[in-house]
Symmetry: C2
Subunit: 348 residues, 2 copies
């Protein structure tokens, strides 16, 4: 490379700016493309008010998963679920997946049987079809690429961009558990690596381990909202952490937000593990990521419906854009929400 | 791993048997899934006779591409084209792609600009939209995963399974060029590695280099067939080599075939390079792969239409299944067609 050629490292831009830079020249040309880059999934019109949504995720060994503590069956299950989560965040119903894998000679046929048993379990559990893929050797490690397809009527689709001032901000389940499960697994891995005779101490933390290793999609909330006749004004899945997702909704909807610290749902195991690690549990909830809960907004008029709905918590409301995005603690100063979520393009 | 646990190496099964084993338990359950695993692309019904087709390809550095002699812009272009080729082989029109990339710290932002300039060129050239993807760091090398989506009416879709006895076998363009282009690049790489001052000798071989580095999809043949009112009875794209693709059609259609050696289209540069390498040019055409031509069958009654069509050559015909798959040389014994195409799960 000549000295005059500029070299900008990937971490200098970060994931979101890099995506913006790379995809900016690609304005959709096809009339069927209702939504391209920039939401949980792309939306493609099939005509007559019917749509398909399409989303894809690339999972790389050593970056997204560690096979030291991730059973292959769980990995297969999770690889499907994280994509169905994106489909669900568009308010669409997942229908099909494709799975491509690249595997080094370290892996044998029986390993792939394990991986695919998890993929099968997820497909059965969420009633989706495996319809294609690609299988290849790789130089090192394992690569998994999943694409998920869902269907919805065009007027059912929920984007990140529809939140309105005074809308209620809701989140499903609880947050921070997957992150604390990961911390626990990482600690036990370190102990094991320094003393191979050590047995991992995981008792009493089944829930947060499951949150990390075997996440689920809140399909029942999507269905309950539909039954109740409530269409969210905006929705996103919590893959990078609550902060990051809230800022996506604020940016795409051109609004601000207020969330209340004491409303953020945190499981007891998450809180206990956070204390053991001397991590603030709200930090885990806001920035941990991988919870695959749904974050959505509904009109204020739907308060009673969402407030009484199972696995849904109202955590705040949408405000005018100039008021910014803040978290309100029980006492003391408001805390500005900043995205410290998962950065897929780390320096180290 | 305990000694009782069986370990079967991936190369013992090979790609096709492995795919069969892994995907066998996944019978489609959704009524919208018209075709799952087992063709160039999956077919999803959108209702009212409209369909989408979906295909995906995983490209791994060191396995599918070598950046020593593949410019990033060409790689981006080719990554899109190989997927549009699969969409086209279903007789569908490509409309959208998603592109996921994993890149190590070896790559900088400007490298990705180059890669995406090739992706953009292919999207513009084939009038498709980039609608999504995923961007991540990787531990080593570059990973590219592309999913392509196309549209077609349900009755326009062409599967691998529709070839009938007496149908004509046709192929577009010419074969073996991409393989000989690759051999040339590999030779010059070896020379360069043993003497860094050596300049690559590529003059006079532009065509086969372009065949390898910048393949195209024969959209004009698809369009000419449509204009002529000819719907192929079966179709597949030539990615693994003519032999392998012929056997796919024979197996899926439950037929045999006869192709005539002297009808196989081979470019003059391919023939010249094959001679230089002491490789039989028919071996390159039959087993080389990566030509991305279309192989299809039409009823015998369409002979005049296809025989006079630009970039189409009739190379043989379909026979009863018990007659097997053979190539007929100008003289001597018939040669049984066996698949020696690209094996993505090599032992070495």
């Amino acid at each position: 490379m000549s000295e005059t050629q500029k070299r900008t490292e990937l971490y200098e831009l970060g994931e979101f700016k890099l995506i913006d830079r790379l995809t900016e020249p690609f304005a959709p040309k096809q009339q069927e493309t209702l939504k391209g880059v920039g939401d949980d999934a792309a939306v493609i019109s099939c005509g007559k008010g019917e749509c398909l949504v399409v989303t894809t995720d690339l999972l790389l060994e050593g970056i997204h998963f560690d096979l030291t503590y991730t059973p292959l069956k769980h990995l297969g299950y999770k690889a499907i679920v994280v994509n169905l989560s994106d489909v669900s965040a568009m308010n669409a119903t997942p229908k099909q997946v494709t799975v491509s894998i690249g595997v080094s000679k370290r892996f044998c046929v029986e390993d792939l049987d394990e991986l695919y048993s998890g993929i099968k379990l997820a497909c059965d559990s969420y009633n989706v079809d495996l319809v294609g893929g690609d299988t290849s050797s790789s130089m090192t490690g394992m690569t998994i690429s999943v694409t998920a397809i869902g269907s919805a009527k065009e007027d059912e689709i929920v984007y990140r961009s529809g939140a309105k001032v005074n809308d209620l901000i809701c989140v499903t389940g609880n947050l921070g558990g997957a992150y604390m499960g990961l911390q626990l697994l990482e600690r036990e891995k370190r102990i094991f690596l320094s003393n191979k005779a050590a047995k991992p101490k995981l008792e009493g933390y089944d829930y947060i381990l499951e949150r990390f290793l075997k996440p689920e999609v809140r399909r029942n909330v999507i269905e309950n909202l539909r039954k109740a006749g409530v269409k969210p004004t905006s929705m996103i899945d919590v893959s990078d952490g609550l902060s990051s997702e809230l800022l996506h909704i604020c940016k795409n909807s051109n609004v601000g937000c207020r969330i209340y610290m004491d409303k953020i749902p945190i499981d007891e195991q998450t809180a206990r593990m956070a204390e053991e690690f001397n991590i603030d549990m709200f930090t885990a909830a806001l920035n941990g990521g991988e919870d695959y809960e749904l974050l959505f907004t509904v009109p204020l008029s739907e308060y009673q419906v969402v407030d009484s709905m199972e696995n849904v918590r109202v955590i705040g409301h949408i405000v005018e854009p100039h008021l910014g995005a803040y978290m309100i603690p029980p006492s003391g100063e408001d805390i500005r929400i900043t995205a410290q979520g998962w950065n897929a393009l780390q320096k180290e």
